[in-house]
Symmetry: C2
């Protein structure tokens, strides 16, 4: 009985955080509140308060859940590809597919919150920066493996490659949200694909276009 209640509590907690990540992908984290979240998820405010006693605790839990969703949809499937340039490309391609899938109503939690917190020191900013740095570190590590395997040129600058991949992934969101630019996903895809093909001695490992 107690176990069943714990499991139910955990499911509710996860469902509430999923809703919160999606809301924050639209409105950001500053507009997040227990009251709005209670209203949206039909869970009592006091029930939520037991989990997250203040706004900052809630914001930090939402960031952790956003990282979990990103990992499940982008990182884990990309790591099903063989290490090297195919895995590097898969990180970008899965990201664009994740945006297109509409899992989050605002497109991307991290794009929505990055500019919001870049000038506000504190634990929330630190958690966001750590999550994005982890993602960049992953891109660099996978790119470095591709260099070691001879699938990217030995002189490829993996820091530069990570900057460019992140820039194009981010731009897919900003272009398609604010500008309703048709084809944003296609531009973001082509930019990275052409770049990786130009840096790879074995471009045949990558799609032709």
């Amino acid at each position: 009985m107690a176990d069943g209640r714990l499991a139910r509590g955990e499911r509710t907690r996860t469902a509430v955080l999923d809703a919160a990540v999606s809301m924050a992908s639209v409105d950001g984290l500053e507009a997040m509140s227990l009251a709005r979240l209670a209203h949206a998820t039909e869970v009592s405010k006091s029930g939520l308060f037991a989990h997250w006693p203040d706004k900052e605790a809630l914001q930090l839990a939402v960031i952790a859940r956003a990282v979990h969703i990103w990992t499940a949809h982008v990182v884990t499937p990309a790591f099903a590809e063989p290490r090297g340039v195919r895995r590097l490309w898969a990180l970008h391609e899965r990201r664009i597919e994740f945006y297109a899938s509409g899992v989050l109503s605002g497109g991307c939690f991290f794009v929505a919150t990055q500019a919001e917190f870049d000038d506000r020191p504190g634990p929330v900013r630190d958690a966001l920066a750590a999550a994005i740095n982890d993602w960049l570190f992953l891109i660099k590590a996978v790119a470095a493996q591709a260099v070691e395997l001879g699938e990217l040129r030995p002189d490829a600058d993996v820091e530069q490659v990570a900057f460019e991949i992140e820039a194009h992934g981010h731009a897919v969101v900003t272009f398609s949200r604010l500008l309703h630019a048709e084809g944003a996903a296609a531009y973001g895809r082509t930019a990275v694909l052409e770049r990786l093909r130009s840096l790879s001695p074995v471009p045949g490992l990558l799609p032709a276009s």
Copy 2:
């Protein structure tokens, strides 16, 4: 006498809007208010109210001023370069220099406000989208001229080039603000320079690195 008063009024209005653009580059446009602005500029709230009767009128005036600042610091100097690939490169290089100059305390007004309004229909969102679309249109027009002049390959896709230049310019801000990434400006510079050199039959018109 009346003329002097008008000129003084105009100078005050401009100074207030300059302060507002800088504040919005840190906190966004939603946090903007006549009260905060009056406090920051030491102009009376009733004096400001005479110019901008409501928050939306103020937000629209701030966007127009941000476009003016961008044009003065980025577009006008770039247009001093000969048309073609040098002018295209100058648009990006002046942008990175503008960020480095610290004119705006948050780095970039448009990066700070883009994600804030992408999901909020209305005149403010429309004005932001129009300003960013004008900028993209300019990049495309200058790139198309470079194609016509034979300074970019005839098969260069100017829409794709504009997406990539904008993505890298935007990323210089997001990387240097949230991640304190040293060298963000250098990565953003290298990404576009290498891309334009690879697309140009006359790469000698561009800096070597």
